[in-house]
């Protein structure tokens, strides 16, 4: 069987995508000229990285604002994200190899912290129920909701299900604000001085490359003397998450989320904000 390719030739790819490449280089020129900006904020600091500016410029260039690129190129760009992140992941892998001793000594913690990613269920599910969500809450809070999770939920519950609607919502929110929020959140948590930088480093690998990148950039800026080990641990954790993430979701995350939903939903219902559907029913 002949393989199906998205483009018939390299030339066709270039004719469709050249604008994306040119824009990317222009954004690099602008973003890296501005460089890193530190804003002191209480005990912590808000660190702005060039990746934030290029991300925002990218969003603004799209069909809903500046209209420089069209829907066809928007689709093409999401494939390019994977290409562009590979060299960065290679750099992190090299750091992990260079600090192999640190990675190995943290082995048990690295494996066990994967279960910590389920923390989202305990923190976000009760909130979602309080805000009046029903089954959407399962899709929204079972995991960090990146591409693989969205695909999995769509596959399991169907594209028109409330679970998929919830998952898609958080996917969109994470895409829009996730990168910047992750960098900011990590610097605030670091300022609390509760956690060792190594613990923060290995928590950065949540199965979303760009969020890990933002968190790790913040951490290496805050603890420059430990930069090497921090990126080594973040890399190891992200790699493990990339491998086990989908199984964690299928075998632990979703069953746990469904169980907790059954337990909590009846208890929280009396205090919950009314959802639109409830209000409509009462009016009728």
């Amino acid at each position: 069987m002949e393989k199906q390719y998205q483009y018939s030739s390299l030339g066709e790819r270039f004719r469709t995508e050249w604008k994306i490449y040119v824009l990317a280089f222009v954004f690099i020129l602008i973003a890296d000229s501005i460089g890193q900006i530190n804003i002191p904020l209480g005990a912590g600091r808000f660190i702005l990285f060039p990746i934030f500016y290029s991300l925002i410029l990218g969003v603004l260039s799209g069909p809903q604002v500046a209209k420089i690129i069209k829907s066809k190129q928007v689709k093409a760009a999401s494939k390019l994200v994977i290409v562009a992140i590979c060299p960065f992941i290679a750099k992190l892998g090299i750091n992990a190899g260079a600090s192999l001793e640190t990675v190995l000594s943290a082995g048990p913690a690295l494996l066990l912290q994967e279960f910590g990613n389920l923390g989202t269920i305990f923190l976000a599910l009760p909130l979602a129920l309080l805000l009046g969500l029903k089954r959407e809450a399962i899709g929204a809070t079972h995991s960090i909701n990146r591409e693989t999770n969205l695909a999995l939920i769509t596959d399991m519950y169907g594209p028109d299900s409330p679970e998929t609607r919830g998952s898609l919502s958080i996917y969109v929110v994470g895409g829009m604000v996730g990168t910047i929020y992750f960098g900011f959140m990590v610097s605030v948590i670091a300022a609390l001085n509760i956690f060792h930088p190594f613990a923060l480093a290995m928590s950065s690998g949540v199965g979303a490359g760009i969020m890990m990148a933002s968190a790790t950039a913040s951490l290496t800026a805050i603890y420059p003397q430990m930069a090497e080990q921090i990126s080594a641990l973040a890399s190891a954790s992200e790699t493990i998450s990339g491998i086990d993430g989908i199984y964690m979701t299928i075998f632990i995350g979703l069953p746990l989320c469904n169980w907790l939903y059954k337990v909590l939903e009846p208890k929280i219902r009396p205090f919950a904000l009314k959802s639109k559907e409830d209000t409509k029913v009462e009016e009728a």
């Binding site: 954004f27 992190l92 992990a96 190899g97 260079a98 192999l100 989202t120 305990f122 948590i189 190594f198």
Partner: protein
Amino acid sequence: MRYIEWAVLFIISGLGIALANFVGFQVGFMESLPGVAVLLVIAFLGLVASKLIPLKLPIVAYVSIIGLLAACPASPIREFVIESANKINFTAPLTMVGAYAGMSISDQIKTFVKQGWKMILIGVFVMTGTFLGSAIVSQVVLSLTNVI
């Protein structure tokens, strides 16, 4: 994508990294070149591994493992790999990732706005919970195993 498409796109990424490294950190193109080459070769090997090895893992997992192997103490090219990669500043490869990622979600602004404050708040809790859960487990296990 064909290998040739990947190769050309990787080279474009490499140029982006060199540009960011120059504009942001004043590292000249020739000085960045070995590091960029190392990163691109590892990325390409990761791609080849993901196509040849029947185990269904994300490409980035292979890239990361090959990077680790190239720089681990048993590697004969360890010194060269580490030294050249160190010339590439940590955030230099990320600006292009941000540019592509921004463009790839640029048709979701209206959907994002429509989500309303509830979903944004839940999204913030989801991200915080995922991170904080790991941080708590990591801190406890690292202390128990006397790493910190």
